[in-house]
């Protein structure tokens, strides 16, 4: 359970990181001879100016929500899942493979695709979990290795089995029945990329929040994350929780992969690690590892990514400004100890005051009772 103070602190720190990120973006724009006010105006306008753009923002945010949830969830168990990109690739590969192979009615096909992506991602992440639990191999290193194994796996498997008609470097397009896009939603948002993934994402945000706050499973996972030794001494199975946590994180990233490759996009490109895997780390940091925080942070990044093309068209600012802002936010989120230190100083004084107050009240109550 988070105390109100902690939520407030997280909120301020996130807003501060965003502010610094935007300032860094402004500096870069100015230094390269552009007007940052124009830049930001078109950047945000590009993500919000009409219903189609808003749909695109939501569609872009969808895989980010999953990737962010994945990182945040593992983090709750004290694990750093850098492997979101690889897990997304494998989830996407499973989804694409099923979508291209079977010719079933849409509801059934979609269900199977999602389950396959979920299992694929979970299995891919369970190996680093297992290595961590069994051999104490640091998950940061093993998930990085798994990213590149996934990268080369897709690199060779897609051209071999699902080669597209025109390019060596991409798969065939999936049929409409295998896509998370549905006509009513597409037309509701004036032909945007939005798809069923966003609803799925909201459902999973709620599920993860519920697991973490209300269930014994969440309690165990967090206990292991905060203090592995104390959890073990208290009879909690640390190894099982580590594998469990990584698998759930992988499942979330795998689903994110599905929402990207068979939702936002319609085919798979090879030779690219999906940037969402790493953006997910920024999303989790900015969202203070809380599910609804992740949701908001992902929407914000979705907005930046959607608006950057429009900004590029209206000004001469390259679209990578959005990535620069996101990267800077990660940097400042990592260095937020500076702010935290001062925050803790204030809080410590407040707590001491409250202890004294409680003691005084106790004293009063004692003397009153006599």
């Amino acid at each position: 359970m988070k105390t109100k103070v902690r939520v407030k602190k997280d909120l301020y720190m996130s807003l501060f990181a965003v502010l610094l990120g935007l300032i860094a973006g402004a500096i870069l724009m100015t230094a390269t001879g552009n007007n940052p006010f124009d830049g930001f105006y078109f950047l945000f306008r590009g993500g919000l100016m009409n219903i189609e753009r808003i749909g695109n923002t939501l569609a872009t945010a969808t895989p980010l929500i999953f990737a962010g949830l994945s990182v945040a969830f593992a983090f709750k168990t004290g694990l750093f899942n850098i492997g979101g990109a690889g897990q997304m690739l494998i989830g996407g590969l499973c989804a694409t493979a099923i979508g291209l192979t079977f010719d079933w009615p849409k509801p059934i096909l979609l269900s199977v695709i999602l389950v396959a992506a979920l299992i694929g991602g979970a299995l891919w992440a369970s190996l680093p979990g297992l290595l961590k639990a069994r051999f104490n191999v640091h998950e940061v290193v093993s998930t990085i290795m798994m990213n590149w194994i996934a990268y080369w796996t897709v690199f060779y498997l897609v051209p071999q089995y699902f080669k597209g008609p025109f390019l060596e470097t991409e798969s065939q397009r999936i049929p409409a029945a295998a896509s998370l896009k549905v006509p009513w939603l597409t037309s509701l948002f004036d032909g945007s990329y939005i798809n069923l993934g966003i609803f799925l994402a909201v459902v999973f945000v709620a599920i993860i929040a519920f697991i973490l706050e209300r269930t014994t499973l969440g309690y165990e996972l967090k206990a292991v994350g905060y203090n592995r030794d104390a959890a073990e001494a208290a009879g909690i199975s640390v190894n099982r929780n580590i594998i469990f946590s990584m698998s759930i994180a992988g499942a979330l990233a795998g689903l994110g992969g599905a929402t990207f490759y068979v939702g936002f996009a319609s085919n798979m490109q090879i030779g690219v690690l999906p940037a969402q895997g790493f953006d997910g780390i920024a999303v989790a940091l900015l969202g203070a590892n809380s599910p609804w925080g992740v949701f908001l942070a992902a929407l914000f990044f979705g907005l930046l990514h959607t608006g950057k093309g429009f900004m590029n068209a209206m000004t001469s600012i390259p679209p990578e400004i959005a990535d620069t802002i996101i990267a800077t936010i990660i940097y400042f989120a990592a260095t937020s100890v500076l702010i935290e230190r001062n925050w803790d100083k204030i809080n410590k004084i407040r707590l001491d005051f409250m202890i004294r107050k409680r003691e005084a009240e106790q004293l009063e109550a004692d003397s009153g009772g006599e």
């Binding site: 209300r214 905060y226 203090n227 001494a233 009879g235 409680r358």
Partner: protein, 507 residues
Amino acid sequence: MNHIVEMVDIRKEFPGVVACDDITFKVKKGEIHALLGENGAGKSTLMNILFGLYQQDSGSIYLRGDKVSITNPNIANDLGIGMVHQHFKLVHNFTVTENIILGLEPTKAFMINTRSAFARISDLSKQYGLNVDPDALISDISVGMQQRVEILKMLYRDAEILIFDEPTAVLTPQEVQEMMKIMRGLIDEGKTIILITHKLREIMAIADRCTVIRWGKVVGTVNTEDTSEEKLAEMMVGRKVLFELNKKEAHPRKEILSIEELSVSGSAGRKGLKNFTLGVRCGEIVGLAGIDGNGQKELVEAIIGLRKADSGRIMLGDEDISTLSIRERIETGLAHIPEDRHKHGLVLDYTVQENMILKTYYREPYSSKGLLDWSFIYEHAENVIRDFDIRAGEGADSLARSLSGGNQQKAIVGREIDSNPDLLIAVQPTRGLDVGAIEYIHQRLLEQRDQGKAVFMISLELDEILDLSDRIAVIYNGELVDIVDADKTDENEIGLMMAGGKRGVAT
């Protein structure tokens, strides 16, 4: 007056605390000056300032009459100040020589000249009778040896003022004697020693003068000739200290814990446990004495289930628990106050209420069908907080991290006793606490005994063992030396047994 060190009106604040509140502290040349205070009184901070690891916020330091500014340990070294820290500052995969020369390496053509260093270290080791092998790797030598390396480090740097931070914590009573001999030898060679400690007996035995600090303030400086342990204790704590606990007669009943021929392998570089047999009865406190690293850790871990037993049995009541999981053992009636409360006792980033259910969260009424009942958990925590007098700013909602050390320990003791265990294993239950909290926890352990429960206490503090136990077992080198009735032994005898000597046989 011939003062070699004068620290005048030293003030140092950390967020939320005043560690040194205008402390004035003066040391004469050639004396052993003890610095006495409870944990957190500010004595380590003061010495870290003298050694240049911290800078004072205000106040000045004079050495040999000259005002100095010590902004880092290098300057302290140049001024002839050396320090042996409580936790040794040695690089485990470096040799003794490399550790000693670090920061002061003699070089020849850009390369470190180990040979010249080697000769000098050998000489120093001989001169002070330290008997250290300069080529050994730190990870291969004993703790006592490592302490001597630390002393050599100071001597190599020509230190004249030697600061020892709790140097005897890791030694046997006999090794302590040897340590004192080394210290006297240093004084004879013209050195000055500042001894940080909380052990009154050692101060009376070796120090010339003693400065007492409480809550960051100096209470006074006294000649040890003109004072007594009782007076020093009173100065340190600020009130009369009861050396006698309110201890009733024990009424032990049937044996609840039976350790039979237990063998456990140790972790890398540590001794394990060999054919260890011991019983603890309901209604008694059994204390286990021994020098750190003689198998206590392995024994405790084997009992609670963190470490596998190679052979032998551990019976709790009528059940062999040696193959059960940790959780199953807890359910059988085992409770554990761990040695390291931050590592094994609490989840510091959990609130007090969350910590209270660490071993029981999965059971009714704390949860049902996998869902936690937060309102019940809160109420339960508030009850424990009241029963065990835990001071926390936001009550059950306080983060465990925000509690003071004493209150954290009370929270653990509260949780464990509240689970109504048949056997309570208390490992160093009062380490690092102030006298008030120590008395409280001792009282609680005795109550547990008086209610007919069993308590098995493992401690490195011999005084604690002698005060609380009904029977005292001594462990050495992974084996049980002997078990004796507490009222039929004394510190000397236990001390000899801790060094491996059997009862009645001098070593």
